[in-house]
């Protein structure tokens, strides 16, 4: 497995918690993603939005982690959204059918707008 360097930032815009994901998303990213998700999903927000604009590498372990985030969001009755996916990562979402469970948007504005 590749050495993982995941950097995460958390922001809040209106009713949405945003997670800015930079670098790699692999199974080794689990603690960082879980911590960021807990922060992003707190405070009665309606949706957690994953910003993949700076995603550099994702393997199937990373896909597994996204499944766990989806479950956590569903459990908290929050919507899980994503934007910033390039064509390659959109194809991975399509391949694994995650695109049917995680709403994908073209821009941050569109994702935040959908969370209202």
């Amino acid at each position: 497995m590749a050495n993982t360097t995941t950097a995460l930032g958390v922001r809040r815009i209106g009713d949405a918690g945003l997670m800015d994901i930079r670098g790699d998303v692999t199974a080794q990213s689990e603690p960082a993603l879980a911590e960021a998700f807990a922060e992003a999903s707190s405070g009665g927000i309606r949706a957690v939005i994953l910003n993949f604009s700076a995603l550099d590498y994702m393997n199937s372990g990373g896909i597994g982690l996204l499944v766990t985030l989806l479950v956590r969001a569903n459990r908290q009755k929050q919507r899980l959204c994503a934007y910033g996916l390039n064509e390659h990562y959109r194809q991975i979402f399509e391949l694994t059918r995650l695109d049917e469970a995680i709403a994908i948007f073209d821009s941050e504005q569109a994702a935040v707008g959908a969370a209202r």
């Binding site: 499944v67 766990t68 390659h88 194809q91 391949l95 995650l98």
Partner: protein, 240 residues
């Protein structure tokens, strides 16, 4: 920006296409079907991790994965066979799985290789397979010892499979025995003890009732129907 991983992933497919079928393989429940991710399954969501340390074996993670890819079916416990294409385990390739006991219809299903690099590879299954969700096979170095791992994020695909999985002894054997046996055989190949560490966590105890309709794709039912129709297909081929 192009990801560093681009060459390792399969391209999306609407439905699966089986190009070549070995003479002794039953090809059913794969061609024409869509793959099913964890979000499309019915049952409880499980995160399972099986690991074996290859203590004493001087083998790199890359070599473990190279051999595992080349001889994937050889490491399976008895009772199930996997038929891989000539290209082997590579992104986008489809394998057929046949399992069963003598006298019973062959249970037929398959896998799509969604990801493969030099230290890991991953499968996802077609609709009707007992589980939905990705399974990843990997190897890594842990303080000088190579560790082989199987990790899955899976749900039973429909209510019948879920019922089977929660049966004491049977469910656990079907779900987990496959990978405990595989890793044990892999360890034995390098002369290591088959001491497989298992970690199983239920991530979601709820059932996705909206996916109960998956039962229409149930590969067990369709395998039985396929077996019943086999004599008719043989007659039809002779007439042709």
């Amino acid at each position: 920006m192009t990801g560093r991983d681009e060459a390792y992933w399969a391209k999306p497919v609407r439905t699966l296409t089986v190009r070549t079928v070995p003479a002794d393989a039953v090809n059913a429940n794969v061609a024409g079907r869509r793959v099913a991710g964890a979000a499309q399954g019915f049952g409880q969501l499980w995160h399972k991790r099986f690991r074996v340390r290859l203590d004493g074996a001087r083998v790199s993670p890359q070599e473990v994965i190279r051999v595992w890819k080349d001889r994937f079916g050889d490491f399976w416990p008895k009772g199930a066979r996997v038929f891989l294409p000539a290209a082997g385990i590579a992104p986008g390739e489809i394998g057929l799985i046949n399992a069963g006991v003598p006298g019973a219809p062959t249970f037929a299903t398959g896998i799509l290789v969604i990801y493969a690099d030099d230290v890991s590879f991953s499968f996802i299954s077609p609709e009707g397979h007992p589980f939905t969700g990705p399974i990843t096979f990997s190897a890594f170095d842990d303080d000088g010892t190579t560790v082989a791992e199987v990790e899955e994020f899976t749900r039973a695909s429909d209510p019948l499979w879920e019922l089977l999985m929660i049966l004491p002894f049977v469910g656990g054997k079907i779900q987990n025995g496959q990978w405990v046996g595989t890793l044990g055989n892999l360890a034995a190949h390098w002369g290591a003890a088959a001491d497989v560490e298992t970690r199983i966590v239920c991530l979601d105890r709820g059932r996705q009732w909206s996916q109960a309709k998956n039962v229409w794709h149930n590969a067990g039912i369709h395998s039985a129907i396929h077996a019943i129709g086999a004599p008719l297909r043989r007659v039809a081929r002779r007439v042709d």
